[in-house]
């Protein structure tokens, strides 16, 4: 794939010698859409799910109207700028950069190419030709937090964190609040892996948590390694992250949060084709079909499953928000008074634990 991208870059560089040829190509060929991935397409989690979304989009729009290129395992940080630029030079007119760490590189490249459109996932910086999109993963965390609180026998839940950014802290708080709601004795241990995708590190983190008596593992990293580790110890359960991870069902994987990007990608590509694309921020949840809960397996008792399904229905209907007061901050001060719902601004800058979680967030 990488070679193909390079070849395309070369072809475009040749074409750009003659501006006329390039203009004709831009008008007549299919729209070229690029994707920058943080892990391999085969990670079975986050990147896999983005690629599923890409394929759904091509299917929905039609292969005659849209052509896609992607590059896997692009490191977050300055090197991403090179990869994105290369994709622009390869003729891509719309580029999705699918990880938080591509935020500044995307903004920088976008400033150089004002007629190319960019979509950055999970970030907060926008420009005239840069939109942002994200999903309310914390809604899914509320559901699996509920299952976790009901299912744990040791009353210890482990959470493998990736990076201490608002998205992950929302996930930790949401999981803990809802586990605690159904099981007041529950404790949460957080292990920071400082990576999105590193099977060895994720497996080690899962092992350390299990050694400490944790019997429910929630992960915010992208590989299936924690499931493989949990499988070695009977009685430990896990949840699929980003993708269904059904290879580990019915146990240890008892449910999953699925990121469903297809509808969004289809909508945005269609908007470019129609000429109606404009820069905006999208934060879709269960209601919009961005976040789905994968099949809850028979390892979960029927009444727990019913409780989880009711919560899915309530969140989807918009009658329940996972961050509804009364909620205190970790230091005991009031964050949300009774009945007050957290605003999107508060959530997108969330940088503190709620009351009851032990430990500090690394800076």
């Amino acid at each position: 794939m990488k070679r193909r991208t390079v070849l395309m870059g070369g072809a475009a560089a040749t074409l750009s010698l003659s501006m006329g040829a390039r203009a004709v190509l831009a008008q007549e060929g299919p729209l070229k859409v690029g994707f920058i991935y943080v892990g391999p397409v085969g990670d079975g989690g986050w990147t896999y799910q983005h690629d599923v979304g890409r394929l759904e989009m091509v299917e929905a729009i039609g292969a005659d109207k849209v052509e896609t290129v992607f590059q896997e395992s692009v490191p977050e940080g300055p090197d991403a700028e090179r990869a994105i630029t290369q994709m622009v030079l390869g003729g891509a007119k719309l580029i999705f950069t699918t990880s938080f760490g591509y935020m500044d590189p995307t903004i920088n490249v976008a400033a150089k190419f004002p007629d190319v459109k960019f979509e950055h996932a999970t970030g907060y910086k926008r420009a005239d030709n840069v939109s942002t999109y994200d999903s309310r993963f914390y809604e899914g965390r509320a559901v699996i937090g509920t299952i976790a609180g009901r299912m744990t026998k040791s009353n210890k839940i482990g959470y493998i964190g990736s990076f201490p950014i608002p998205e992950v802290i929302q996930g930790i708080n949401s999981s803990f609040l809802h586990a605690k709601k159904v099981n007041p004795a529950v404790e949460l241990s957080v292990v920071w892996a400082f990576t999105w995708f590193d099977p060895a590190k994720e497996a080690d983190a899962a092992k350390a948590l299990i050694d400490q008596g944790v019997d429910v593992i929630i992960q915010h990293t992208d590989s299936t390694a924690p499931h493989a580790e949990a499988q070695k110890t009977p009685g430990v359960i896990t949840f699929g992250q980003a993708s269904d991870m059904s290879a580990f069902a019915p146990s240890p994987r008892v449910a999953s949060i699925i990121d469903n990007w297809g509808p969004y990608y289809t909508k945005r590509v269609q908007a470019v084709l129609d000429g109606s694309w404009k820069s905006e921020g999208t934060w879709g949840g269960m209601k919009d079909g961005h976040v789905l809960i994968g099949p809850i397996t028979e390892a979960v008792p029927a009444e727990v499953k019913a409780e989880a399904e009711k919560m899915i229905a309530d969140i989807t209907a918009g009658t329940y928000h996972p961050f509804t007061g009364p909620i205190n901050k970790q230091d005991g001060s009031v964050w949300l008074a009774d009945g007050v719902v957290a605003t999107d601004e508060e959530l997108s800058g969330l940088n503190f634990y709620v009351e009851g979680i032990v430990g500090d967030i690394p800076s």
Partner: protein, 308 residues
């Protein structure tokens, strides 16, 4: 400060976590005792990881996977052996090239294997022994590779220090000219040592991809080969000290994750850098030992040619 960490479980997981670096470091210690500095440990480990993974997925047998891992790493090390023993190329440069080549080539071979589940290698069934308090957890809860690695430490110690073979190997590493003068085939002995080191590195790599993770992904060994090289120096090229070094490094990695999981108040950053910090401190302490050299084999890194 240690929170609710169970020390016995910690020791058990420390033993398991140190298996890959123990195997690789033990192999490298033998190679270096023969006077060859092979910096390609990381490359050989990852070749073992990928070939072992591919074969055990294809055949469904972890045993065949481990054998293939040794074969794969040995095949890769033949490049290094050819360069340094036949072409008399610089050992440091050849070893580094071997690591770079191994990382890239394993990534190519492993293309279709990301996200595939290998057959599981389970703990050796000791029956009621595993349920004994304290020692059951520490001694009888492991897989057979772990026991094999410990047996190999004893075997290597015995061969190096108590047999004629070991004496010849050490002679080649201390003074190749003298060994040659006595009629020993220096290059053949070094070739065999390189192959032995590669087999152990491959086994260590396969332990990561088949037992510890168990999964394949690019760069899965994540620097374990470099840690193994540091352990060899730390251990002053002695097998029993290699074991101690591997447990120290493995133990620090396990301890920092367990401390996090147990909710200790120590900031994560300090815990993560602890293993590397201790490497530096230990190396400084060893090198500054009064009147005591590092005990490196005298001919380490020097190529040998019979015509000289």
């Amino acid at each position: 400060m240690l929170g609710g960490i169970d020390p016995f479980i910690l020791i058990a997981s420390l033993i398991a976590a140190s298996v890959p670096i123990l195997l690789a470091a033990l192999g490298e210690a033998v190679v270096e005792r023969a006077g060859v500095l092979n910096l390609g440990v990381e490359g050989m480990m990852i070749m073992g990881a990928v070939t072992g993974f591919m074969v055990s997925v294809a055949t469904g047998s972890p045993l065949l996977g481990f054998l293939a891992a040794m074969a794969g790493a040995m095949a890769l090390s033949l490049i290094f052996a050819f360069l340094t023993q036949v072409m008399l190329a610089n050992q440091v440069a050849s070893g580094l090239a071997l690591t770079l080549f191994g990382l890239g080539f394993s990534s190519l071979l492993g293309q279709g294997y990301v996200g595939v589940k290998p057959p599981l290698t389970t703990a050796v069934p000791f029956g009621p022994l595993a349920d004994l308090p304290v020692i059951g957890e520490i001694l009888f809860s492991h897989d057979w590779i772990t026991y094999l690695s410990l047996a190999l430490v004893g075997l290597v110690w015995f061969v190096l220090n108590r047999t004629r073979t070991g004496l010849i190997l050490r002679a080649v590493g201390e003074n190749a000219e003298a060994a040659h003068g006595l009629g020993y085939k220096v290059r053949r002995i070094r070739l065999l040592a390189i192959l032995f080191g590669a087999a152990l590195a491959g086994l260590g790599g396969a332990y990561i991809s088949l037992v510890r993770v168990p999964q394949w992904t690019d760069g899965i060994t994540a620097g374990a080969g470099w840690i193994a090289l540091a352990i060899v120096v730390f251990a002053s090229w002695r097998p029993l000290r290699v074991l101690a070094g591997a447990w120290l490094f493995g133990g620090l990695t396990v301890l920092q994750l367990n401390l996090q999981a147990a909710g200790s108040g120590i900031p994560v950053e300090y815990l993560s850098m602890a293993p590397y910090l201790i490497t530096i401190i230990v190396l400084v302490l060893i090198s500054s030992g009064k009147g005591r050299a590092l005990d490196a084999p005298a001919a380490l890194g020097q190529n040998f040619h019979a015509s000289r």
